[in-house]
């Protein structure tokens, strides 16, 4: 049975590749592991090895044009096999349908993951599908991938193609652990530079910018959150005089001590960390039919990096001083900016703060960062006329909007949190 050579998927967000140059010619004898051709992606050029030994037939000429991943680009015939068989090879024989060569990186950054698909045939031998496979459809479809249902589910929820994940289980089976490892890698990997794309003609409907791995995760997670969590929103205006005065007073001292100036966001993390232990349902996660009440308060701070959303986590906010949180946050912010942030720093959040006040936004509502149960959106602080003791006075006011997951947070619980938040913001001494 001839062995098919397909255009392999050598990077997780890769849908097409190009044949830059063949290293063998029609009719050449090759040994398994010989370099067959150079594949071009938008990141690098790599070499593709022969999946089997034999004679090269029916190779697709190198054109540099994009070819869909999984397209057969050549066949390797065993001695005595007829060339005509290539037109209608049959599936099911060991090693045919997924015979992708190992890929040896040649230059450029290492791909975040090199696919090593497992051979498709079942251990029972042959005949799992008697249907003849048209060469055009011989792509490594999900059907040929050995993965557990949980691994597939986790991949689906995180917007990962299952065939991009390398399995570590028996016979290459992909388990949830492998998907999570892949996800961690994708989170820490830098997004691909898109600049090297061919100057294709700009279609009338505008440029199509494919999702990078981070955007794909954001898209899938936030869509999932809106789907599973019934959001409800609660808004309150709070007087920021006390916090502003406090920042003015202790800011310089903290900056002197830890080298970073405390920001309003960190101060609010400190305030929220101080009151959340009294509101367990807002520091909880839905797990099946139960709510997991977290012992620690780990506050995610929504940040932007190169157009993508990243949420580093301030750990142990329930027991840290403002100086400690300022120091921690300084480290996280620097790591985000320098792209050295580790996946571990973005995991385990129990509550999220999103502050867009610096852009002049008055107020907004945020989507809950699953599996957390609430997120607090903070608008700008602006002087507004308010009534105090029968007089109209100007006060620095900010609007706080809490989004809660009604599966575990009820209106009264959210309102109690808002009341405690107001008390702590307007009189931070209560936290002492």
């Amino acid at each position: 049975m001839p062995v098919e050579v397909i255009l392999p998927k050598v990077d997780m967000d890769m849908e097409t590749g190009s044949i830059e140059a063949w290293k063998v010619a029609e009719g050449d004898a090759v040994k398994q592991g010989d370099i067959l051709f150079e594949i071009g992606t938008n990141k690098a050029v790599m070499e593709v090895e022969a999946p089997a030994s034999g004679i090269i037939r029916n190779l697709v000429p190198a054109s540099g044009e994009p070819i869909a991943v999984g397209t057969p680009v050549a066949w390797i015939f065993q001695e005595g096999e007829e060339a005509g068989e290539a037109a209608e090879p049959t599936a099911g024989a060991p090693g045919t349908s997924l015979a992708v060569g190992r890929v040896a990186p040649q230059e450029g950054p290492l791909p975040s993951s090199v696919t090593t698909p497992t051979p498709s045939p079942s251990p029972q031998g042959g005949g799992e599908s008697g249907a003849p496979m048209n060469g055009r459809h011989a792509a490594p479809t999900a059907d040929g991938i050995r993965a557990t249902p949980l691994a597939r589910r986790t991949a689906r929820l995180n917007g990962i193609a299952i065939d991009a994940v390398t399995g570590s289980g028996p016979r290459g089976r992909i388990t949830e652990k492998d998907v999570l490892a892949h996800l961690a890698q994708a989170e820490s990997a830098a997004p691909a530079p898109v600049a090297a794309r061919a100057p294709a003609e700009t279609p009338a409907e505008g440029e199509l910018v494919p999702f990078g791995p981070v955007r794909r995760i954001i898209a899938s997670r936030l869509a999932e959150s809106m789907r599973v969590a019934p959001h409800f929103y609660m808004t309150a205006q709070m007087d920021m005089s006390a916090l502003q005065a406090l920042l003015k007073r202790v800011g310089p001292r903290i900056e002197k001590a830890v080298g970073v100036k405390p920001s309003l966001t960190v101060l609010l993390a400190r305030v929220v960390g101080g009151i959340l232990p009294r509101h367990p349902m807002l520091n909880a996660s839905v797990e099946g039919d139960a709510a997991r009440l977290h012992a620690a308060v780990n506050i995610g701070i929504a940040m932007e990096r190169d157009g993508d959303l990243v949420v580093p986590v301030l750990r142990g906010a329930e027991g840290k001083t403002l100086a400690e949180l300022t120091r921690d946050f300084g480290r996280l912010r620097e790591a985000v900016a320098s792209r050295s942030i580790q996946p571990a720093d973005m995991r385990g959040g129990t509550f999220t703060l999103s502050n867009l006040g610096m852009f002049g936004v008055d107020s907004f509502t945020a989507i809950i960062n699953q599996p957390e149960s609430a997120i607090l959106a903070i608008g700008r602080t602006v002087e507004m006329p308010v009534g105090r003791n029968g007089e109209i006075v100007l006060r620095p006011m900010a609007t706080f909007s809490l989004s809660s997951d009604h599966r575990i947070v009820d209106g009264v619980a959210a309102a109690r949190f808002m009341a405690d938040l107001r008390e702590a913001i307007e009189c931070p001494e209560v936290l002492i």
């Binding site: 249902p149 570590s168 949830e176």
Partner: protein, 340 residues
């Protein structure tokens, strides 16, 4: 000797054997309700082949503890008739293997009468069935036939694993207006455990989580729940955190408890003494695979069942034909490590 022994101290933990617990349940039911009577081969003067009925014939007389001829079909038919006419028979099949002779009355009559008469007749009978291997009683006295009956709508099938549950579930079975089969593992009769005094009920159809764990779920009933719990303690020493579910009841089956557990652990092993093929393990595996819990499986489901042979007389082979604690340990290690 403590000087305090004169004080009326109620012993905190009263221990009974499984057989004693069943006898106590029978006595409580018979005292409370004169319609309850025992029926079976050698249940009277001899006290039962496994000594379960014991002295009950002396306490309740030969009218209520009745020795029968050796005719399982006849006994079962008489019990069905008695139940329909308002009595509450508790029938003992000397070895559960012999129930094959009584299939017609149990499956074709007892299970169906209530339905075929639109609820106008009911069959409140209990069949006690000593079953299982491990006593060197060979192929015709060692089987685990519970899955046969769990296949029949209209029957309830229970398999308590502890003296506590044996008493409480038997009392629930006697209360039940439907035919209930209680499979009692012969090796459990002499096991001891805490049994509360007096009258209490353990519901039919509710599994018990014997040990909570995160790494895998082991489901079993009767002696397999006991072996699984013992294996889980050893696994814990190796850092494998197994959750053990004691099914207690096969029909109705408590799927929700299994589902919640698998949703958490992502790995399922079903252990049962009956022949592996077409058994309880197949049913539970299929229930999980059909449900939304499918998406939470991170490894193939493992079934550990009896070998595909008539149970051997040779004690070494007999042990080898049925899952033992070591088999559970080995399979659980593989499943937890991801080698399965």
């Amino acid at each position: 000797m403590s000087t305090l022994t004169e004080a009326p101290v109620e012993s905190a933990v009263r221990e009974l054997t499984y057989a004693e617990a069943i006898r106590e349940a029978l006595a409580i039911a018979m005292e409370a309700d004169e319609r309850v009577f025992l029926f079976g081969e050698d249940v009277g003067v001899y006290g039962g082949a496994f000594g379960v009925s014991g002295d009950l014939v002396h306490r309740f007389g030969t009218e209520r503890v009745i020795d029968t001829p050796i005719s399982e079909l006849g006994i079962a038919g008489a019990a069905v008739g008695a139940a329909i006419t308002g009595m509450k028979p508790v029938l003992e099949i000397q070895f559960s293997d012999f129930v094959t002779l009584a299939m017609e009355q149990i499956v074709n009559q007892a299970a169906k009468i209530r339905f075929m008469f639109g609820g106008k007749a009911k069959v409140p009978m209990v069949v006690r069935l000593p079953g299982g291997s491990g006593t060197g009683a060979a192929a015709q006295h060692s089987q685990s036939l519970e899955a046969w009956f769990a296949h029949v709508p209209g029957l309830k099938v229970i398999q308590p694993s502890s003296p506590h549950d044996a008493k409480g579930m038997l009392l629930s079975a006697i209360d039940d207006p439907n035919p209930v089969l209680i499979f009692e593992h012969k090796l459990l009769y002499k096991t001891k455990g805490h049994v509360p005094e007096g009258d209490y009920r353990v519901p039919i159809g509710k599994a018990a989580v014997r040990r909570e764990g995160r790494d895998l779920t082991i489901v079993g009933s009767s002696i397999m729940a006991v072996r699984a719990a013992a294996a889980a303690e050893k696994l814990a020493e190796e850092g494998i955190d197994a959750e053990v579910i004691d099914l207690r009841s096969l029909r109705p089956i408590d799927f929700d408890t299994i589902a919640a557990s698998v949703r958490k652990t992502h790995r399922l092993m079903v252990v049962y003494e009956g022949v592996k093929t077409m058994g309880i393990g197949a049913e539970i595996s299929a229930m999980i695979a059909e449900s939304d819990v499918f998406d939470f499986l991170d490894a193939p489901i493992v079934r550990l069942g009896g070998a595909e042979v008539p149970l051997p007389y040779n004690p070494v082979l007999e042990k080898a034909a049925v899952p033992q604690e070591d088999d559970i340990l080995t399979a659980a290690r593989r499943l937890a490590r991801g080698d399965a």
